[in-house]
Symmetry: C2
DNA sequence: ATTACTGCAAATCTTTTGCAATAAG
DNA sequence: CTTATTGCAAAAGATTTGCAGTAAT
């Protein structure tokens, strides 16, 4: 069983657990997501899915992706482009964006240490729950 | 001279340096930006500016803000909302977003130490130029 | 005088939504 | 059978653009 097939199986199992019905449209979307790169847009999914299932509607893809986010099958990934990206990698990780070609790489970081300048920051008693690192630079291919 | 007046003076000086013409519209926008909180949208600027200069066009605000970004008088601030925010704080800093009320605070951090898991990440010879920390949690008011 | 800037309206782009028909469980 | 899901077309919201007139330098 390939890695992609495993991912697909996992999506099917989880969506059943969440009570989602397994329509052919959803099945096509799941398949694409389990094969795709990790930082995909709705329209990219739609373009590929149409080839398998030509009468598919764009609205259906939008609705499905948002449902998946609500059901924790997918995460929003806001990289500052013109349209929303979705991250199929649910594990804890960060992102590196190449400012030349725009490519996005996942970055795994063991531990981060930092010291807030409390005089200039005004966090007071704020409770920090999560921490995302956004790295920018030039990727190997572009340098 | 107040802090806001200083900010305004700085914008005027810098824009002259960049060769921008000082129209009344631009002047109003500059004034609002030098008085405003740091994470403002085009529409927020527009709404306030209209009161001073009612025949101002929204397109003019859009064009001016983008020009300011190009001329390094302003920075894009992508916090994942529905519309672009602009940051008037040009110094190096990071952001904390309260997940309950949405408030954004600037966070100053002296030094950040982290260790990339090179086995799982694939940065290869990528050159990292900048590093943004995006903190999320609950602010003092909400907890 | 020259060139940037402006207002307006139309266009574009992404995302959402109402609704009636259909299909999954 | 019941309820979620779908396609379609329209709506909504943010941003951009063409153009002809206006104003800053």
């Amino acid at each position: 069983m390939t890695e992609n097939t495993q991912r697909l199986q996992k999506l099917i199992t989880l969506s059943k657990e969440r009570g989602l019905k397994l329509t052919p449209q959803r099945m096509v979307i799941f398949t694409i997501l389990s094969e795709a790169n990790q930082h995909i847009t709705v329209d990219e999914v739609y373009q590929r899915a149409k080839q398998e299932y030509p009468m598919l509607s764009l609205a259906t893809v939008y609705r499905n992706m948002e449902q998946m986010v609500e059901s924790d099958l997918l995460k929003h990934l806001d990289l500052g482009g013109t349209s929303m990206r979705y991250d199929t990698n649910l594990g804890k990780h960060h992102h590196f964006v190449c400012t030349k070609c725009g490519k996005v790489s996942d970055v795994y970081i063991d531990d981060i240490q930092y010291k807030v300048d409390t005089k200039r920051s005004h966090l007071d008693k704020a409770k920090i729950n999560s921490l995302d690192l956004h790295l920018q630079g030039t990727c190997s291919d572009c340098s």
